[in-house]
């Protein structure tokens, strides 16, 4: 931004310089309507007046699905579903790849490789969940069976999984339909993080977690 600070014409190489982006002279000033830094962006003032989620001036907006929502009474844990560490999205996940065999990617329980759900020992203890127990992670959108990874690396009140799964496997056990491929996208909201934008919202998601049956029950399930 040195060129702008010193009032020079923009002298940085651009792959496709577009004269139309500049309001006055091509290459002079920034590409805002005013040509200056805008703390309250003119474009947002013009175009998002009807969108309360995009105020021109940044301010705190309480999460529409967070620990202070009404929904938190039923689903008290905040699910953070991050990018996968050992697969690139769904690439190298599932599909018999070697990455599947990484213990911290998927846990082999009862002959099936479950996705992991990390949770704090406090949250695990009150639910009677032990390390590598199977757990049901659920909310109004569905239920996914994961293997618990209990450690203080996650704060109490939050649980963490990966957001990408190459597997999607719905099974029905005693009238209950659950997903066992680790497809947490079933649980996360369909809406964008901010209305009117392209922004997925894998971290604005409330869930409840409970200990699921043992692996033996699960192994009987698919055979039925």
């Amino acid at each position: 931004m040195r060129w702008f600070a010193e009032g020079r014409r923009k002298d940085l190489p651009e792959p496709a310089p577009l004269p139309s982006q500049f309001s006055e002279k091509f290459g002079m000033g920034l590409q805002t309507p005013s040509g200056k830094l805008e703390f309250v962006p003119e474009l947002l003032k013009r175009h998002t007046a009807d969108n309360p989620e995009r105020p021109p001036l940044n301010r705190y907006i309480p999460s529409w699905e967070g620990l202070r929502s009404d929904l938190a009474r039923r689903y008290p844990l905040q699910l953070i579903a991050t990018h996968s560490r050992y697969s690139f999205h769904t690439h190298c996940d599932g599909k018999n790849s070697s990455v599947n065999s990484i213990d911290d990617h998927r846990a082999l329980i009862g002959g099936h490789r479950f996705g992991l759900l990390r949770l704090n020992p406090t949250d695990a203890d009150i639910r009677g969940i032990g390390h590598r127990d199977l757990v049901k992670v659920h909310n109004g959108r569905g239920a996914v069976i994961c293997a618990a990874d209990v450690s203080p690396l996650v704060s109490a009140g939050a649980v963490k999984s990966y957001e990408a799964s190459a597997e999607f496997q719905l099974i029905e056990i005693e009238g209950e339909r659950v997903e066992i491929g680790g497809c947490m996208n079933m649980l996360t909201p369909d809406r964008p993080q901010t209305a009117g934008t392209s922004s997925m919202s894998p971290n604005s998601c409330l869930v409840q977690v409970e200990k699921w049956r043992g692996a033996e029950a699960f192994m009987l399930g698919p055979a039925a």
Binding site: N96, S98, S101, D104, H105, P152, S155
Partner: protein, 287 residues
């Protein structure tokens, strides 16, 4: 006679699992006659990374420990395996892919759980130190080649020189009391084996709770002071290098803003959390 040794620097591993995947890539479906039969895709990995998490938020510390066949000089598997397992002159242990067929008992012989069972071929298998590659002139096994954080160091030394290096660099082996004489050494193993007691010192200053920098924390066993340290800019203090299951400790903290103390029982590492100072009776907090 110089022999192969692998040195693992404990604090450097951050669990990327490249070494695990590289070992799988090298052996799954690949036959190296005289060294190892193809590994099974669904078998356990011969290189594993163990995890230890100490303390609690926010003073939490994670340590990852890569473990694999130690290529012991007094290998329990060789005693169990008879002629099915041999030790090469360069120190590397090889389970014969022909003679060891059906020998599931060999898996149990290893106290380090480093032998995996290949159900398909009915074979016990290990990480072979990539002997097939070293014999072709590779200076290092694939775990080292694929490691982005320089966890591994491969050295070929005679046993005397290696013992000296271990002494000089503080290298240890896993479970030395077993007398197995591993050829895989660990640097910084204290981080895996010892514990810490830590806490965060705060004090009420007018109507604000502040982190207290420069508070003196002393660690006592009974009446004997065994260590002293000073809190950092976040009020955090920490005593490292304590033995697991070390019994009862007492931490005493003093600062111009006040004093505090805590008792704790050390099994695994303890994070005492926020320790609030209370103004001392004489107003100076000195002791």
């Amino acid at each position: 006679m110089s022999k192969w040794n692998l040195i693992i620097k404990v604090g450097r591993c951050e669990n990327c699992q490249n070494c695990v995947i590289a070992a799988r890539d090298e052996h799954v479906g690949n036959d190296f006659p005289g060294y190892a039969a193809p590994a099974a895709a669904n078998a356990d990995s011969p290189i594993r990374i163990l995890r230890r998490v100490q303390g609690d938020s926010h003073m939490v510390e994670t340590t990852y420990l890569p473990v694999m066949c130690n290529h012991c000089d007094e290998a329990p598997c060789m005693r169990a395996g008879g002629g099915a397992i041999r030790k090469r002159a360069d120190g590397i242990v090889i389970i014969d892919p022909e003679k060891a067929r059906g020998r599931k008992d060999i898996v149990k012989a290893c106290p380090y759980k480093a032998i995996v069972w290949n159900e398909e071929l009915q074979l016990p298998q290990i990480w072979i130190f990539d002997a097939h590659l070293l014999d072709q002139g590779w200076p290092q096994p694939r775990c080292q080649q694929s490691c982005p954080t320089d966890v591994f160091e491969t050295v070929k030394l005679d046993d005397g020189a290696m013992a000296e290096k271990a002494l000089r660099e503080g290298l240890k082996v896993l479970r030395p009391k077993l007398g197995t004489k591993p050829r895989v050494w660990y640097g910084g193993l204290e981080r895996w084996e010892t514990c810490f007691i830590g806490g965060s010192v705060s004090a009420q200053v007018e109507d604000v709770v502040e982190c207290v920098t420069g508070a003196t924390a002393a660690l006592y066993v009974g009446n004997q002071k065994i260590a002293e340290t000073v809190s950092d800019d976040f009020g955090d203090f920490r005593f490292d290098g304590l033995a697991k299951d070390g019994g009862g400790y007492r931490v005493e903290i003093r600062h111009a803003l006040g004093r505090a103390w805590r008792n704790c029982e050390l099994g695994e590492s303890v994070y005492l959390g926020e320790v609030r100072l209370f103004p001392s009776a004489n107003g100076t907090g000195g002791a």
